[in-house]
């Protein structure tokens, strides 16, 4: 984090965290199939670290369970995220981290859409376009420095 001295948002509001998901008896039953639901997808992304604070995206309310849509049979996952401030320069990076996490952890049959919540960021369209462009995402991940930053966001803190 090179920009330690000049954070975009110095004192962000922090929010509560969900508890661990309770394991239901049906989930331990070999014969029942568990569908992929919003909570499961949310669990994948909620612990992603914010690039500039020692907090998770969930604690900053960047991602919320209500903003995750999952259509398991239709193979679509939609995640809408909210940058903490409208001119957040990290929005693209956060979006990229969410996308990479989902690419790595979801079955390949899913189409993943990542968008900024409408009206919460100044360059909303540009960022959305960037995140939806497969080639630009792939190119970004070829960049070792960027990949390292993304991996840092994805590494679980203890």
């Amino acid at each position: 984090m090179s920009g330690r001295e000049e954070l975009d948002n110095v004192n962000p509001t922090i929010h509560g965290k969900l508890g661990e998901r309770h394991i239901l008896p049906t989930e331990e039953d070999d014969d029942v199939a568990d569908a992929i639901d919003t909570r499961e997808v949310f669990d994948l992304i909620r612990n992603i670290n914010d690039p500039e604070h020692p907090l998770t995206l969930e604690e900053l309310n960047v991602v919320q369970q209500a903003e995750v849509e999952v259509d398991d049979p239709g193979n679509v996952v939609k995640v809408t995220f909210t940058p903490t401030i409208p001119h957040c320069s990290m929005a693209t990076l956060i979006g990229l981290a969410i996308r990479v996490k989902l690419i790595r952890s979801l079955p390949s049959r899913f189409k993943v859409d990542i968008n900024i919540k409408p009206g919460t960021h100044v360059s909303e369209n540009a960022v959305n376009k960037q995140l939806a462009d497969k080639e630009r995402v792939a190119a970004a991940l070829e960049n070792n420095h960027l990949l390292e930053v993304v991996n840092q966001c994805l590494t679980q803190r203890d």
Binding site: N11, I14, A33, R104, P107, E148
Partner: protein
């Protein structure tokens, strides 16, 4: 006398003069010495030393025979001569030389320091040897040090030789500190000069260890800055030990000893503090970490004034650290540092009201930080309130004056905010901070007036405010939890709790304990009540506890929970409360009209209470008379009834007996020898001899005698062995067991023959417990022979017996045999091997063989109810290893029999988890191929334990497992798709993930395959499998990144 550098003659004269040469002896070693000096033979040293030490020759003779070489005009030969001499001196025993000899030798060696520089290193070794001699004359130390400082250019020498110099200093400081002090500044300057520029970490550790002694015992005022510079140039320590460093020197060790040096005198403050401030602004985390730790060490040593002048700077660094929150460790260190510094500057300040001197500085500092924090404290929804509160709590915890200022200022602000913000989340944050602040106050604030000032205009409302968060219809459980936490602190503040508020709080807490459904909230409530009770014991006892107990007695739903909570509260509070609850419980347990389920609940609670009470030895006597004896009397008198009546009596119910036994097991191991012997005598009298007088009972039913250990006794009597077992098995080992042979024999018969499962199991355990502790001798041997005859010949191996009907009996016999074997192998009894072999042979038995693998696990597991160290069992070290090593060949042999492979795997599954790690690692290589092979069987479900073991082993990257990586990976990947069991899938995915810790070059080639084959697992139908697959896959994906980065 003055010595010229190259003239050898004077030395000889000196030596001849003092040692009174013996020409004969001088020639003795000529050959050995000649060889050594020519560099041909090194063994000479040992033979010379041997002859000197055993008195055949003297040191004087030796030195004399060296004469020619020490005098030689050739530098090389002189060097060799001194080297030989130093080596011989070094290898002499520490107390060999007398003062005079040492003095002469020192004289000589010091003079040698003037000689050619190649001789210096050998001379120093000789001096080191001298300084290690126990009769070293302290007066010579000045001479040695002066010579070294004057003649030796320490920093131009090799590491080993520099070390020799430092070791000499260490030795001399130890022997003759006073004499060296006489050297004054000469010594200090000499040492500083000698160590200036030292780079080797091994030497530095040594130096850092002696410097505090020098700094504190010598006048260094004139060279404070020089001394400081010599030490401080190493700060912060930048050292990375080479891999496989044999010296075991770590950065941490160096940093620690450097810290001790820098914090050894307050005189360093003026130089050290500016340096630390500079390092605190460093980007390097280790530099900041070291600086915080250094400050913590310096704060109590340095003067108050010095610390005071830097406190603002320290505050701002700590604040920045927490606000950025780069690492948890740094946060903690920063908080600790702030606390230590505030504590240091507050010493001697009693109150903050007077405005004079240093108090004023502290006050204005505190005012500044509070003004800075004010804004953040008013924003409980923002992040900065958290670091802020941590800092304030650290300051408040540090000292009384700081505590009172911080609390007076911040508690009212926080309470105001509580009224402004009505959102649950913010209120929780506020409550949590208030709780932590109040908690810090309890150590410091004793005056009621202070408390009044802190709660200021909230004095009347604070309790009700906090109580409002507990209301049933209000908020989420977490808010109630936070409210209870704060209430726990409030109830300890004397001025807040008048009679009406006591009642209010009491009612509210009782209501929560009775009605609250959330476990965490109840748990917090119990803590609060415990705090409450520690201050207002009588009140809590007469209100909360009484109400709860009435509810329990009614036996309404939920009473189980309440009685457990009560036990926790009373054990947290005081022994008196615990004792009164114990006696209440005993009254309830004595009631036969209650059902057995109630008995079980009460007995479990009783066990918690006795466990707490018995930890204080003075309570044991009363526990024996109020709990153990009454319980024993209860069960015995219940069995004296006819079997019909006994059947309905809960005191004859097996489960109740087991629960009572649990209570006994808690008390009995803690009894001392005399109490133990009495109890044991009583138990044997009652149960073995049927003598009821000690329990003050008589048998009303003369037709059925009371003799529970008689094999012919009715079942309800025999099962009393359940309560006998904990008494005879849990006593100290030195307590003599009366009629032990008869007891063991009776237990053996019940174990082998009784048809009641309960009785036979506990008899077998009882027997094992007694056998394990019984002194070796004929009595024990006879019982063992009896056991072999009874169990082995008749039941286990007697193939002649018809199988069908005798099945259960055989299993009982097997169980008894296993427990006996365990008792014997644990104490390493000579018979142990025989017993174990018999058991192992049964692995191939057609009828019992399938059960033997499980029993092998029993041999190694720690059992709670018998044969454990807590119950004073005789456990020899390494018994598990011995069992494992004896069992392994038998188990491995099974792998060669086609139909018994599953049994072999089951046996391994039971053996491996209990084996200590080092043994496991040593024995594993031959087993690993079998384990890997066992994973490829058609039904992998039984191998689940193996997968668990494998996972832990994989993380340790054993070479033998690493070799198997190529076979292991495909097998595991295949198992991760095993449809019939999700547990197998999860366990194998964990193993796949763990393999990433293998050496990179081995796993990296597999990366693509693994990542690809794990992709379908992300779509597993079970969520838990998907989670594990995601984790494992991420590990494999990140593998690639490591090498690139």
């Amino acid at each position: 006398m003055s010595w010229s550098v190259h003239s050898a003659k004077p030395y000889r004269l000196c030596i001849i003069h003092i040692f009174c040469l013996d020409k004969m002896a001088a020639t003795m070693w000529t050959e050995i010495i000649e060889n050594y000096v020519r560099g041909e033979q090194k063994e000479g040293v040992t033979s010379i030393t041997a002859e000197i030490t055993n008195g055949q020759q003297t040191v004087e003779n030796f030195v004399d025979s060296m004469g020619t070489y020490l005098m030689s005009t050739e530098t090389r030969i002189r060097a060799k001569g001194v080297e030989l001499m130093s080596e011989v001196l070094t290898s002499l025993p520490r107390a060999f030389l007398n003062q005079q000899q040492i003095q002469v030798l020192i004289e000589f060696l010091c003079a040698r320091l003037l000689d050619h520089h190649s001789i210096t290193q050998h001379t120093l070794k000789g001096l080191l040897a001298m300084s290690s001699q126990s009769s070293f004359p302290p007066s010579s130390s000045v001479q040695v040090m002066t010579a070294i400082f004057k003649e030796v250019q320490v920093q131009t020498m090799l590491q080993v030789d520099r070390r020799t110099v430092y070791n000499i200093v260490v030795n001399l400081l130890r022997i003759s500190l006073t004499e060296l002090q006489g050297m004054g500044s000469e010594f200090v300057l000499g040492l500083l000069h000698a160590m200036d520029g030292e780079k080797d970490p091994r030497n530095l550790i040594l130096l850092f260890n002696i410097l505090p002694t020098v700094i504190n015992n010598f006048k260094i005022d004139m060279f404070i800055e020089e001394t400081f510079e010599v030490v401080a140039c190493y700060y912060p320590v930048d050292f990375h030990p080479p891999p496989n460093d044999p010296y075991g020197i770590s950065r941490e060790k160096l940093a620690l000893s450097l810290k001790t040096c820098l914090s050894s005198t307050p005189k360093f403050a003026q130089f050290c503090l500016p340096m630390v401030m500079e390092k605190l602004s460093s980007d390097l985390q280790t530099a900041r970490l070291d600086s915080y730790q250094l400050l913590q060490a310096c704060a109590p040593v340095y003067s108050q004034g010095d610390m005071m002048s830097y406190i603002e700077a320290i505050w701002s660094y700590c604040r920045k650290e927490l606000m950025v929150g780069a690492s948890v460790e740094l946060d903690q260190e920063a908080v600790k540092t702030l606390g230590a510094v505030v504590k240091a500057v507050s010493t001697g300040i009693q109150s903050t009201s007077s405005g004079g001197g240093g108090d004023g500085d502290l006050n204005s500092f505190l005012r500044n930080i509070l003004t800075e924090c004010r804004q953040h404290l008013c924003e409980p929804d923002h992040r900065m309130i958290h670091p802020c509160s941590k800092l304030l709590v650290a300051v408040a915890t540090a000292s009384y004056p700081a505590c009172i200022v911080v609390l007076k200022y911040s508690v009212p602000i926080l309470l105001d905010q509580f009224h402004i913000f009505d959102q649950t989340r913010e209120r929780m944050v506020l409550l949590d901070i208030i709780q932590r602040l109040l908690h810090s106050g309890h150590d410091h604030i004793k005056e009621a007036d202070d408390w009044r000032a802190i709660h200021a205009h909230h004095l009347d409302t604070v309790v009700t405010t906090v109580l409002s968060t507990l209301a049933k219809d209000q908020g989420v459980p977490d808010l109630r939890k936070a409210g209870l936490g704060t209430l726990g602190e409030l109830v300890q503040v004397p001025v807040l709790m008048d009679q009406s508020r006591l009642e209010l709080v009491g009612q509210e807490l009782t209501r929560i304990l009775l009605e609250e459904a959330n476990v965490d909230v109840r748990c917090e409530c119990i803590k609060t009540v415990s705090c409450f009770a520690s201050r207002h014991t009588e009140f809590v006892k007469s209100t909360i506890l009484t109400t709860l107990w009435t509810t329990v007695q009614k036996g309404e739903s939920g009473y189980q929970r309440i009685v457990v909570d009560m036990a926790t509260i009373v054990t947290n509070t005081s022994d008196d409360l615990s004792r009164s609850l114990t006696s209440e419980l005993m009254v309830e347990i004595a009631k036969t009209e209650l059902n057995s389920e109630q008995h079980l609940v009460y007995l479990a609670t009783l066990n918690t209470l006795t466990a707490h009470l018995s930890s204080t030895p003075s309570n044991l006597e009363s526990l024996l008379s109020s709990v153990v004896h009454p319980l024993m009397k209860m069960v015995v008198s219940a069995t004296l009834q006819s079997s019909v009546e006994a059947g309905n009596n809960p005191h004859c119910c097996g489960e109740v007996l087991v629960a009572m036994a649990e209570v006994f097991r808690t008390v009995v191991p803690k009894l001392d020898t005399s109490m133990g012997s009495k109890l044991c005598q009583c138990a044997v009298d009652v149960f073995l001899h049927g003598n009821l007088t000690s329990l003050e009972l008589t048998n009303p039913n003369t037709s059925v005698p009371f003799s529970p250990l008689d094999p012919r006794a009715p079942v309800h009597q025999t099962q009393l062995v359940t309560v006998l077992q904990p008494i005879v098995c849990s006593l100290r080992r030195d307590i003599h067991m009366p009629s032990s042979k008869q007891l063991m024999s009776s237990l053996l018969h019940i174990a082998a023959h009784s048809r009641a499962w309960l009785a036979s199991t506990w008899a077998a355990k009882g027997l094992a417990g007694v056998v394990n502790k019984h002194p070796a001798g004929s009595a024990l041997d006879e019982v063992l022979v009896e056991a072999e005859v009874l169990v082995e010949a008749e039941s286990l191996l007697g193939q002649a017996m018809s199988s069908g009907q005798e099945g259960p009996v055989k299993q009982q016999a097997l169980m008894a045999w296993v427990l006996l074997t365990k008792a014997l192998v644990m104490r390493s009894h000579p018979k142990a091997t025989t017993f174990l072999t018999t058991l192992l042979r049964l692995l191939e038995d057609a009828e019992l063989g399938a059960q033997v693998p499980q029993t092998l696990g029993m041999l190694l597991e720690d059992m709670g109810d018998v044969l454990s160290e807590g119950l004073h069992a005789d456990v020899k070290i390494m018994y598990k290893q011995r069992v494992f090593l004896q069992a392994l060949p038998f188990v491995m042999a099974l792998f060669n029999k086609d139909d018994l492979q599953t049994r072999a795997i089951t046996a391994l599954c039971h053996l491996l988890p209990s084996i200590p790690r080092p043994v496991l690692l040593a024995e594993l290589p031959p087993i690993i191929p079998r384990l890997v092979q066992s994973l490829r069987v058609t039904d992998p479900r039984p191998t689940l334990p193996i997968l668990d073991i494998l996972e832990s082993l994989l993380e340790e990257t054993l070479p033998s497992l690493v070799d198997q990586a190529d076979t292991l990976l495909p097998t595991l990947l295949e198992l991760s798709a095993y449809q019939a069991s999700m547990k197998v899938r999860i366990a194998s995915l964990k193993c796949v993930g763990a393999i990433t810790s293998f050496p990179h070059h081995l796993v990296y080639p597999h990366q693509e395959t693994v990542v690809r084959s794990l992709a379908p697992r992300l779509d597993d139908k079970k969520r838990l499998v998907r989670q594990e697959a995601g984790k494992a896959r991420t590990k494999w994906i990140l593998l690639q990144q490591d090498t690139k980065g």
